[in-house]
């Protein structure tokens, strides 16, 4: 029999939005809990350098999230990490979240589940396909890698890979142009160790034994294919909303995001959303923090009105 815990507010997700919501909930004297499927910090943990969070001109993503976590911990908000949600019922007055270890009940829930990286789908599976340069970049010193994606993450992580001693980077983007900041593009493509191709995608990977030897690339505009010798692939193709837990209960946009109102409420009373899961034009740490603030204050207003 799993233990049953009663809270005022359950926060699903421990990224910047969820942790900020936890801080504001605690300051409002609400009894809140943060449930996180991974470790707190979300996608920011995989960001090598954050340079647009006010008060820190430049800080490692994981360090920034550690500081946010310490702030949350100072309010003694319980945080359950590596927490697998098995059942979620948001439709009743009392919301129920069942995890692998316990059952949580509350009159309010904040959905702050964020997004997860889009995987590279190729016919040939390969162990040398990675999604984190910090985690997996070091063995590629002196080697050639393919980077998939043309946004800030792809370019920033490519620069990090070069700093690790990667010999050459081939960066590809399926759209007609790169979307990274101009200065970052200049840094990478002007390094003499990187080349970029737009309108290009990976068709397949060529593996010998257990090792990647080449990627088969295609120019989607001309249909021309070619073989690019690489030792590893790093994938930064953007993210998809993490809505599996509630997609059948909460109204979503066609793209799978929550169309929250200005107070971050959803179509269900007592259910609010915050962070990257919300349908909005800009997904930044700062906007996630703002959403978390508004969602927690709205929860307070919602609960006090009853």
């Amino acid at each position: 029999m799993k233990p049953v815990h009663h809270y005022d507010c359950i926060i699903l997700g421990g990224g910047p939005a969820g942790m900020t919501a936890g801080i504001y909930a605690a300051r409002a004297k609400l009894k809140a809990v943060v449930l996180e499927s991974n470790i707190t910090g979300g996608l920011v943990n995989s960001t090598y350098t954050v340079e647009n969070y006010p008060s820190y001109p430049s800080i490692h993503g994981m360090e920034l999230m550690q500081r946010m976590r310490e702030h949350l911990d100072s309010f003694e908000v319980p945080v359950e990490e590596v927490c697998e949600v098995e059942r979620l019922d948001l439709t009743g007055v009392v919301k129920v979240v069942e995890t692998d270890e316990a059952i949580y009940q509350a009159r309010a829930v904040i959905l702050a589940t964020g997004r997860k990286p889009v995987p590279l789908e190729t016919p040939t599976p390969c162990d040398q396909v990675h999604h984190c340069a910090i985690c997996d970049g070091a063995p590629y010193a002196g080697k050639r890698v393919l980077v998939c994606g043309g946004g800030n993450s792809a370019f920033d992580e490519s620069l990090y890979l070069l700093s690790l001693g990667v010999a050459h980077i081939t960066l590809i983007e399926i759209m007609p142009r790169f979307f990274a900041a101009a200065a970052t593009q200049e840094s990478l493509l002007g390094s003499g160790k990187a080349e970029g191709h737009t309108e290009t995608r990976v068709v397949d990977l060529e593996v010998a034994g257990d090792l990647l030897v080449a990627a088969i690339l295609e120019n989607v505009a001309t249909g021309k294919t070619w073989r690019e010798e690489v030792d590893g692939v790093f994938v930064f193709l953007g993210q998809r909303p993490s809505n599996e837990l509630f997609k059948d209960q909460v109204t979503l946009t066609e793209a799978g995001y929550v169309p929250a109102t200005s107070d971050m409420s959803t179509n269900l009373p007592g259910v609010f959303a915050a962070g990257d899961i919300v349908d909005k034009p800009f997904r930044q740490i700062t906007t996630a923090v703002a959403d978390g603030t508004v969602a927690a204050l709205s929860v307070e207003r919602f609960l006090r009105a009853r």
């Binding site: 991974n38 470790i39 910090g41 943990n45 995989s46 490692h60 994981m62 360090e63 990490e81 590596v82 697998e84 692998d100 162990d127 984190c132 910090i134 985690c135 997996d136 070091a138 063995p139």
Partner: protein, 102 residues
């Protein structure tokens, strides 16, 4: 609680472990932090299993000798020897199954 071991004592530490799990990790690696939390939850499911950690950056020779190129890489240790190796993420139940399978 994960006990950190190092280049000069990793062989002895493994040899002295009857039942354990060793993680080869990297500082500032989110997947490693995740697996450290998974190991703690695994430990609650199966108390008495020693949890060991080896920093791949501080101890590259030991990591190479263990054939751990990527972080996180996990090793199941039984009777003073490596019984199984697996790279990447697992949840506590998967780690428990991996441990019990060897």
């Amino acid at each position: 609680m994960i006990q950190e071991i190092a280049q000069d004592d990793y062989k002895e530490a493994i040899a002295a472990t009857q039942a354990g799990v060793l993680i080869v990790f990297k500082e500032l690696c989110p997947h490693c932090k995740n697996m450290e939390k998974v190991m703690e939850k695994f430990s609650a499911l199966l108390p008495g299993v020693a949890l060991l950690g080896l920093d791949i950056q501080k101890n590259p020779d030991a990591a190479a000798a263990l054939e751990a190129e990527r972080a996180p890489t996990l090793f199941v240790i039984k009777n003073g020897a490596v019984a199984q190796k697996k790279t990447g993420l697992m949840n506590p139940k998967e780690l428990l199954a991996l441990y019990k399978a060897c």
